[in-house]
């Protein structure tokens, strides 16, 4: 009850939940992230797009420390990301992530995939964790697959399980790293539908995706990245109608051409 009460009126001037300040990162000599500044408000949906190799995946993977930034500050849910393991684990508890390749645990059943982190990290009782897991499986519309192994599911089903797995941790933020790129075309919609529902319920989301239809529907802000920089950011209507930068225009013309 109290959760819902907190979650609903968040629409107005949203306090920031992710803050990236002058973030830089290098792979050896290669400058992958150049002076990234990004503020995401609570409940805000940000869609990040850009050509491949532009650093968009690297950027969102910095938010939960799957990649380490070398300069600048990243503050997530009020906690600053440093090399302090305690902080990193605290942030990871609040940040769910969905990967391009699903990364479900193949040796565990769907239900075990979903209950693992709640039981071991959140210290939930097994029974409660399973209840939560079944609730989220219902939400992603595959309650009947609970006892199967990931290898027995289709790509779309696996990705929905992956989303449910993250949701079971009741995260404040969800990161999506090209969640539909590895899917067959006919399965993309079932995953996007789940993501749209999630967005409508007020979840804070940062999505790296090329699904521009999805972006138009849910995004509060579009971020365009190229060569390690944020080139442009704008609400979707402006972003698609009047892109300011040439690079954005070129990218949009390529991606929307077909």
């Amino acid at each position: 009850m109290s959760n819902a009460a907190e979650a609903m009126p968040v629409q107005a001037p949203a306090p920031s939940i992710i803050e990236m300040q002058a973030v830089h990162k290098w792979y050896g000599e290669f400058h992958v992230l150049k002076d990234i500044n990004l503020v995401v408000g609570r409940g805000e949906k940000v869609v990040v797009c850009g050509p491949s190799g532009s650093g968009k995946s690297t950027m969102i993977r910095c938010i939960n420390r799957l990649e380490e930034h070398q300069q600048g500050r990243i503050i997530v849910a009020g906690i600053e990301l440093t090399s302090d393991l305690k902080n990193i684990e605290a942030i990871r508890r609040e940040v769910g992530m969905v990967f391009q390749q699903f990364n479900l645990f193949p040796h565990l059943t769907v239900l075990e995939n979903l209950t693992l982190a709640p039981i071991w990290v959140r210290k939930m009782a097994k029974k409660d964790a399973e209840e939560t897991a079944r609730y989220y499986l219902e939400r992603v519309k595959i309650p009947e697959q609970a006892d199967k192994y990931p290898g027995q599911l289709s790509g779309g089903q696996q990705q929905r399980v992956a989303i449910a797995r993250s949701l079971c941790m009741k995260p404040e933020i969800m990161l999506f790293d090209e969640p539909t790129s590895a899917l067959d075309p006919e399965m993309i919609k079932e995953v996007l539908d789940v993501m749209i529902e999630l967005a409508q319920e007020g979840m804070t989301m940062v999505c790296v995706t090329h699904e521009m239809g999805f972006a138009r529907t849910v995004a509060d802000m579009m971020v365009f990245m190229d060569r390690g920089e944020i080139v442009e950011r704008a609400p979707p209507q402006d972003f698609f109608a009047h892109p300011k930068s040439d690079r954005t225009r070129l990218f949009l013309s390529q991606i929307l051409a077909h």
């Binding site: 799957l66 393991l85 645990f105 059943t109 982190a117 071991w120 990290v121 192994y149 992956a162």
Partner: protein
């Protein structure tokens, strides 16, 4: 009846003959043994070799064998010219081969130990029991085995480890070595892949050092050199020293096998576990190790079988394992020259344990691979 009539009335269309029989005994033979000229030659050669060797072996082992005789001369006299196996020797000596120099009237104790160890191993095969309870069972089993072997409490006579011998000694050496080497090997394998340079260097150095030395050398060092380094008055039991040597040696080999499994885990699995906030140890225990170990079951069991048979090397430092008691039995003055029977008997015992391990590993593989298949 009516069915048959109808079938006869309707003329069957001319059917094409199947090309060759592919089912049944003949089909199987054709497909597997005679499917090319080369294979046909090999098959004939193999059959010839079998005919040459198997019947004489069966004759020696069963038909011409002598099953009871009071001593070696009587046995030899009874078997005549042809010569069969003198199983009477084994009948006479089995208790010594099994229990060796353990006090004769107390040999029910090592017998119980063998039963306990085999029982606990069988219980471990049931996956439903895996967990803390099984660990407790092993602990209880080992403590019970230790008490039964050494005595000194509960009115049991004290038996020093020099008298522990035969099958129980072999089983204790092998089982304790595997039990302790396995977790140690996991730590070594993790250490070798650690991000911390000190941990990594120590692990690599240990593994490479131990792998680069023959087991016999390690055993000699444990039995001869180690006492020289220990301060005066401090002695460590010889059996314990050999046991530790086995643990340290097996761990180095197992560690490399486990490392192979660890390296095969896709990076995405680790990222997913990290993203859920599992942390290094939970990630390792819940995500990485279950998958890594399942992948390397065949080489793991291969190592276990090797370690089991390696225990027979303790005879060179004067411990009386199963092979050594058998060797000692051969020196009995009443029964000279029955080495073949003895070694066949001992080999059969080793084979039973090794074959069991290999079959069980195949079953485990099937269980663990179930989830991965589509």
């Amino acid at each position: 009846m009516a069915d048959i009539d109808i079938a006869e009335e309707i003329p069957l269309p001319a059917q094409q003959r199947p090309p060759v029989v592919t089912s049944g005994v003949i089909g199987w033979l054709r497909a597997n043994l005679f499917n090319s000229v080369f294979n046909t030659i090999l098959t004939i050669l193999a059959v010839y070799l079998l005919v040459l060797t198997v019947p004489p072996l069966i004759r020696w082992m069963f038909i011409d064998a002598i099953w009871s005789a009071p001593n070696g001369q009587a046995c030899r006299a009874a078997m005549g010219q042809e010569g069969g196996a003198c199983w009477a020797f084994i009948g006479q000596m089995w208790r010594f081969i099994f229990f060796g120099r353990f006090p004769y009237d107390a040999q029910w104790r090592p017998l119980f130990v063998v039963v306990i160890i085999i029982g606990v191993i069988l219980a471990s095969c049931d996956r439903r029991l895996w967990g803390r309870r099984l660990l407790l069972l092993w602990l209880a089993g080992l403590v019970a085995a230790g008490i039964l072997m050494s005595g000194g409490v509960f009115g049991l006579r004290y038996v020093p480890t020099e008298l522990w011998s035969g099958l129980p000694l072999t089983l204790i050496l092998a089982v304790v070595a595997m039990l302790f080497a396995f977790p140690f090997a996991i730590l070594l394998a993790l250490g070798r892949r650690s991000k911390l340079p000190a941990v990594r260097i120590v692990s690599v150095a240990y593994i490479e050092l131990v792998r680069g030395v023959p087991l016999i050398t390690v055993l000699f060092m444990a039995s001869v050199m180690l006492p020289l380094f220990l301060p005066e008055g401090v002695t460590v039991d010889k059996l314990l020293r050999a046991q530790v040597a086995f643990i340290l040696f097996a761990a180095a080999y197992l560690a490399e096998v486990i490392r192979g499994g660890l390296q095969a885990i896709p990076k995405g699995q680790i990222e997913a576990a990290d993203a859920l906030g599992l942390g290094y140890w939970r990630r390792t225990r819940l995500i990485v190790l279950p998958q890594a170990l399942a992948m390397v079951i065949p080489p793991l069991v291969n190592n276990f079988i090797g370690a089991f048979k390696n225990t027979s090397l303790v005879l060179i430092i004067g411990l009386f394992d199963l092979l050594n008691t058998a060797n000692t039995a051969l020196t009995d003055s009443n029964w000279q020259g029955f080495a073949s029977e003895t070694y066949v008997f001992v080999a059969a015992i080793y084979f039973c344990f090794c074959f069991f391990m290999s079959r069980y590993s195949q079953r485990l593989e099937r269980t663990f691979n179930r989830g991965h298949r589509r």
